[in-house]
Symmetry: C2
């Protein structure tokens, strides 16, 4: 990987000014970035539908980074995204490492995800939802998380491929949305790690190299 | 269960004034409470060590209720508990259903948990921590969660039976504390539900009846 990478770097430095580097380009950092990218799961993602609390957005992005989500999706059809929540310098740094793509509508978002081969599952507490542990989460899957008060919209549920429910045996009927997200993502992690899915990179070499170069500049 | 319960109720009504009932004492509600109590796990708990953000406390208590934690523990040795976070009317209702016991010190808390047969595991990102999925969480276990900035204290770690780590394959080094808590609690739930631990009540009949009567008044 060394030769083409060096060429890329030289090419970039000729055509565009380098941004001020916040971190030194050490071998250790490069190795860490390479190792993280090798375990990124481009076939696991989340859709945040009108999630308005920046604490929740921050916690969700940290969990995404933790299990290797490459890119998250948002739809803000009713309200604006919480200011700063997706900025690269917040979220204890997670927004720096998880790409976030905003879609103009849920239909656009679903269309894009389906074109990329994702099954779309809403997280729900409705009676039609199947328990988390019944699902195979090793397939390409997008988990839709709804607004803190309203949950996922009827539209989101109707257009989805299914509904997933985190089991609860208590008196309260729902979990915090960032908690529900993490419990689902970590079940995907558990299934995938058991099947050794993290041991071989899922991104192709060109993409890995481009991302490595990009991340080294962050 | 009906006869002794009726007697209890009469006895209570003679000796103390009834609190205003927020909910009617319907058969449906009684059945729900009974069903929830039958699945409470008195051998699964958490210790909140100086957790200061009320959002986190609220999310943690909701997760506790969700997996059947009967009683949670707190130690506030450095700061005060966040105002209102443990009040019965907040936390989307979860503080109403999860008993919270505050201890004057970590040593007192650990002593009490050990007397009750709990293994004590701190959640940690340190190199000595073993991954979550390697642990048997069907045994009586208390999970210690540390402050948002500092993590668990050295004292908490040194006195514990072990350290548990939620695996992370990303760039960020830690999860939100309420997320880490939920991922651990739901792994305990998954292990216990696979082993059918939720199918037989773990509380004895006297305790179930007393709690049912108490909960009906909440």
């Amino acid at each position: 990987m060394n030769a083409p990478e060096a060429t890329n770097r030289q090419a970039l430095s000729r055509t565009q000014p380098l941004k001020p580097q916040r971190w030194p380009r050490t071998e250790r950092r490069q190795a860490r970035i390479r190792s993280v990218l090798a375990r990124r799961q481009p076939d696991l993602t989340v859709v945040l539908e009108n999630i308005h609390d920046p604490h929740n957005v921050s916690a969700i992005l940290r969990s995404c980074d933790g299990v290797g989500v490459l890119r998250a999706h948002t739809v803000y059809s009713i309200e604006e995204p919480p200011p700063g929540a997706f900025a690269r310098q917040t979220s204890a740094g997670a927004a720096k490492w998880v790409e976030v793509e905003r879609h103009p509508s849920l239909a656009d978002c679903y269309k894009r995800l389906r074109a990329e081969g994702f099954a779309i599952l809403v997280t729900s507490i409705g009676p039609d939802a199947r328990p988390l542990y019944d699902w195979n989460l090793r397939v390409p899957v997008a988990l839709v998380l709804g607004n803190e008060m309203r949950g996922v919209s009827t539209e989101a549920r109707d257009m989805a491929d299914g509904a997933i429910q985190v089991p609860m045996v208590g008196m309260v009927e729902s979990l915090n949305v960032s908690v529900a997200c993490a419990v689902c993502l970590y079940e995907a992690y558990r299934q995938r790690t058991t099947a050794r899915d993290y041991e071989c990179p899922k991104l192709d070499l060109d993409r890995l190299q481009a991302l490595e170069e990009d991340w080294l500049r962050r």
